[in-house]
């Protein structure tokens, strides 16, 4: 177990170019599972590779347990990494793949055999030890890659999109295994992914990155419920948060928001810092939009009219896409399994006032009063 501290880590691949990672600061605590999440090219893998010692650090400091390791080679950082491509040595069998790192560290033969057997047993690789990687399925290869990391008993585990080459069902089960592994080993783990489901389910904390910078760090639900800006709001959630331009007005001391042709009142006292005339972006998650028939408390909801353009029945839920007059982007609503709506219909959608997020002109969240749904 170890504490990994990133202090303004920056990486330039070419001098004078835009940095791939830009002043990334993050502290990963003893035994913590932190997920670096972001779209392709956001700098998350670059950051992970700097931690691993596979990329030189352009500026900033990286410390493990308080010791700056910027210039310590990868092999001396006591780190194990699981790669997206598994990176199994194709000319070695499973047992040799598992033992390769231990052999270099002069662990004696009996101890290597014992540890390889123990790891193979844990991961269900017992019958595969003599096989070469090309004779394994994707899931088995992934487990060998995990085993190769575990067998070393390192201070820190790094995962670089380890599930992205697996099919959907295997991804779910392997995700569960990684979660169990973390609970069992209690090791410090840093996990890179662009898949928000992996991030939400595995991470104790999520570090969301965009354009080489850290945008928000926090517990998964906290980040989901309180996105720091419109990027996080639109990146997390499927469908993502609805974001529409809006204008704040005031009438009789009450704050109103104008979306397209609709004008409705915001929850009283929720945005103390907000003033009339502000141009904002209104955000609301699809699950906080209801249709007239399943809304119980009238006062809690603001009604807007929209035309239904698509109904996607997924079984457990239905995603309804609707168009609001005067608003360019379409609105997504997550409704129950049997919604009473059809394509082409014009109807009222109800927005939960306590679940509305407002972002300023720069896209930054406008602080809201704690009383949220």
């Amino acid at each position: 177990m170890a504490v990994v501290t990133l202090d303004k880590l920056t990486k330039f691949y070419e001098r004078g170019q835009v940095p791939a990672a830009d002043a990334v600061s993050l502290e990963v605590n003893h035994g913590e599972f932190v997920v670096l999440l972001g779209p392709s090219g956001c700098g998350k893998t670059t950051t992970l590779r700097m931690i691993a010692g596979l990329e030189p650090i352009s500026s900033g400091a990286l410390s493990i347990d308080g010791r700056v390791v910027n210039n310590v080679p990868a092999k001396d950082r006591d780190i194990a990494m699981v790669f997206q491509s598994y990176a199994l040595y194709p000319h070695m069998n499973v047992a040799d793949n598992l033992a390769f790192g231990l052999k270099r560290r002069s662990v004696d033969r009996a101890e290597i055999a014992r540890r390889v057997a123990a790891v193979a047993d844990t991961l269900g690789l017992g019958g595969l030890l003599e096989r070469k990687p090309h004779a394994l399925s994707g899931g088995q290869r992934q487990r060998v890659a995990l085993g190769r990391a575990i067998v070393r008993d390192p201070k820190v585990f790094l995962f670089d999109e380890p599930l992205s080459n697996l099919d959907a069902s295997l991804r779910v089960s392997t995700r569960g295994e990684i979660g169990k592994l973390h609970r069992r080993l209690g090791a410090t783990m840093i996990y890179v992914t662009h898949d928000q489901v992996e991030a939400m389910t595995l991470g104790q904390r999520i570090c969301i990155m965009n354009g080489g910078r850290v945008v928000q760090v926090g517990a998964p639900l906290e980040v989901y419920k309180h996105p720091a800006n419109t990027f996080v709001a639109s990146f997390l959630g499927n469908p993502p948060m609805n974001l529409v331009p809006a204008r704040i007005t005031q009438s009789n001391g009450r704050l109103l928001v104008k979306v397209g042709a609709h004008l409705f009142e915001l929850a009283a006292g929720r945005y103390p810092a907000l003033t009339a005339g502000a141009e904002v972006t209104l955000g609301i998650r699809p699950e906080h939009i209801a249709t007239a028939t399943n809304a119980a408390e009238d006062g809690r909801f603001a009604s807007i009219d929209a035309e239904v353009v698509q109904v996607e029945a997924l079984g457990a839920e239905t995603i309804v896409t609707a168009r609001v007059a005067g608003v360019a982007s379409e609105l997504f609503a997550r409704l129950g399994p049997d919604p009473d709506t059809v394509v082409g219909e014009r109807r009222a959608f109800l927005l939960d006032r306590y679940a509305i997020h407002l972002f300023d002109a720069a896209g930054v969240r406008i602080p809201a009063h704690a009383a949220e749904a």
Binding site: G53, L54, A74, K75, I79, F83, Q84, A87, Y89, R152
Partner: protein, 272 residues
């Protein structure tokens, strides 16, 4: 219909095999006949078969010396080519450094010069360094002429090895030197085997450089030895054929030994 197709295919295969193997079989028959017998009838079967011609060629016609010389020169050249070529290819494929592609281009562009152009200057260089008429000199020349092609073949293979493997080995604690020997080279073995076979066959049969750079009897290689049986007015066809058969043995052995790897390298994706 399918049977007719099959029969047609078989016929084409038989014709091609006869075309390709015919001269070889003929030379094999000639190797067991004396020159007098051959002049009497060019295509007669070897009856009786003079197996003793092989012993005669080996012991009295100096083939033992030529064979040993060829083996020494070619094996040394192939070993050096394989080690230096794969290291250079690994380096060019794996590391990003200034002028990487320029070096690669310069190395590879030397292939365009025909041997007739370089041989005079090579001769001069070897004379100046005291390497003319020596097996070491010929070995170095062989390394020089085959290195660009060796690097070209290996570089494209090394470049296909995913860089994640090198990263994994680095994290596993291995140095760049160890990674080359323990990861890169074993993975590239099918391609390495291809270059070994290719270089061995090309150099084993090489004649032009050898005939210009070697004149001493004690240093002659097999192709030069065979040439000795071609005189100004007559040639010992029977002995030439026997020499050819002796010369061909190592090529067949090498091919049999490496062919499995060669096929592996050409067909299967070694890096999966």
């Amino acid at each position: 219909m399918a049977a007719a197709k099959r029969a047609a295919l078989l016929l084409v295969l038989c014709l091609y095999t006869a075309f390709a193997a015919g001269p070889f079989v003929w030379a094999a028959m000639l190797s067991l006949r004396t020159t007098t017998e051959i002049h009497r009838n060019h295509f007669a079967p070897p009856n009786p078969a003079h197996w003793d011609k092989f012993a005669e060629a080996w012991f009295t016609s100096n083939y033992a010396v030529y064979f040993t010389n060829s083996t020494q020169v070619v094996v040394s050249a192939v070993v050096i080519l394989t080690v230096v070529g794969s290291m250079a290819a690994h380096c060019l494929a794996r590391y990003r450094f200034r002028l990487n592609r320029v070096i690669y281009f310069v190395l590879f562009s030397t292939i365009i010069f025909p041997p007739q152009i370089t041989i005079i200057s090579l001769f001069q260089i070897l004379v100046q360094y005291g390497l003319y008429n020596s097996k070491l000199g010929l070995t170095l020349v062989y390394v020089a002429i085959q290195l660009p092609l060796t690097i070209y073949i290996l570089e494209s293979f090394f470049a296909r090895i995913p860089s994640d493997l090198f990263d994994a080995a680095r994290i596993d604690g291995y140095s760049d030197w160890e990674i080359f020997w323990r990861v890169s080279l074993p993975i590239a073995l099918p391609a390495v085997a291809t270059t070994v076979i290719l270089n061995f066959i090309l150099l084993w049969n090489e004649f032009l450089y050898a005939v210009v750079l070697i004149t001493e009897e004690a240093n002659r290689t097999l192709p030069l030895g065979i040439q000795r049986f071609i005189g100004d007015t007559q040639e010992d066809v029977g002995m030439i054929a026997t020499g050819l058969m002796i010369a061909i043995i190592p090529v067949v052995v090498i091919y049999a030994f490496f062919s499995e790897r060669l096929i592996q390298g050409m067909t299967a994706g070694a890096v999966k």
